[in-house]
Amino acid sequence: MRHKILTVDDSKTVRMILRKAFRPFDCEIFEAANGVEGIAMAVKAAPDLILLDITMPVMDGVEMLTRIKADPQLKAIPVMMLTAEGGREHVLRIAKLGVRDYIVKPFKEDTLIEKAARIIDLMPVTDGSGRQRSTEDPADILVVEDKPAIIHQIQEGLKHTPWMVHGVASQAEAVELCTRLAPDLVIISLSLPEEAAFALFRKLRTNPKTKFIPVFGLVVKTETSVQNQAQQVGFTLIVTKPIDLPDLEARMAKAMNLDTSLRYFKFEAEFLITSIPENCSTSVLAEIGQYLQPKLTEAVDSGHNKVVFDLHPLRSINLSTIKFLVQAMQACRDLGMNYALIGNLQLIAECKGLEETRYWNFYENLADAKTHLAKAAAVPTPQPVEA
């Protein structure tokens, strides 16, 4: 749920600072310049938190707070005072009126966010547009590992992605980097000295800015006790060494909730090209399968009724892939779409020798498949294109 925060301060500067401080979080900010406007806005917006200045013209913060606490409709809204008035007696007097917290200006953004996060759950925003991020968007990955070779291996293994992999060797460096740059995912070596991985994990989980970041633990396969410990404290995933980099990449994309469909589907003019990768495991097929129907529907909606299944990267075909393709081709027929298969010679020969696939027609390249599909578009009844 998107939280609503009402800031009541006569200084536009302070309201802008507050808006900026909450920008990384999924919340809606409402503003008022004095107590009268603040009460009106509180009634209208029903905020989840009010940040209230004290010294304001028209109606000051103390009076607004008193009125809020006397109003049955508003009294449950938590109020945090934010003011330059910080004398001890003053603070005690305000506390008695029922404020949830109190910040004396000047204040650090981190302090404000930390205190606000104790009152409402602050979820980080994923994208300003509301669009789901995809595997083509940049992301910052933090790897905390005291063995440079492992950091290098991960950097090399992910260099084809738009992700920036930042490697650090210690907890202190990781904390410093996290304050500068909220990473999208953190991988921590569970073998850091003095259980630093667990101390760092706790720090990440108590900071509102990093509270929801996926955190992977990295450990050798045989270290089962530390794996269990990491699972118990809540690490998002345990990655074992030696690292299976394609698998790690897929799991990272999933943990970051990225739209991975661009890896498998792309539109080229009036064609939907579906690429089946070389590493065609059951989980990869399931991932492609979850996007297939929406992508076919999107293609039909856009007036495109030609689909190419590109099996070129496959060196061999297994039963799962055959089942997937049978279902995919049926889905095309159900939607009245023309489709074609392309593959390498080795795969084509293998398919000719299998009962289930012996009648599949392949093209050797995309251009041929497109040409034949374009011709087939004139045929009124959709059907598999003959080579």
Binding site: D10, S11, I17, T83, E85, G86, E89, K105, P106
Partner: protein
Amino acid sequence: MPTTVPIAEPLIRENIVRAVADVFKTMLGRPVHFQPADAANAAGTPPPSTPTFASRQVVGTVGFLGDANGLIYLYFDETFASQCTGGMLGMDERELAEAGPDAVNDAIGEITNMVVGSFKNGLCDAGFPCKLTIPSILRGSNFSVEPTGSAQRHVFRFDCRGHRIVADVLLKSED
């Protein structure tokens, strides 16, 4: 009407130095260094007791009323005032230009409010409870502010990465 009692100079100095340093460090991430009044300038001349500037200034003013009564003027040169505004609000030069002088006035007013608020809180804790007035802004060059005869004046100079900040503290000395 509360009786105004003299406030010792060290208490004023300690509080204004702490307040200026706190606000600049917390809100702007900039270190500020107090330059004692007896420190001569590069030419060997002690600084004048009354702040005067040839360049254009943006001056924030906030008063305090209660068991201590007074005003604090915080002087910024115009360029530095813009830099502080941009730093505090996360705005670049183009955005600042679009926002106009009001954004700078509001930001300098708020910085002054925080400095004087922090200074005043120190006085409150030392037994001089008082309240803040609303901030106001003075802009211009070649001007000076003169207190009336009944006011004590304390001028404190600070350096912030080559920019000068002056805090001019005027206290009502007696009823």
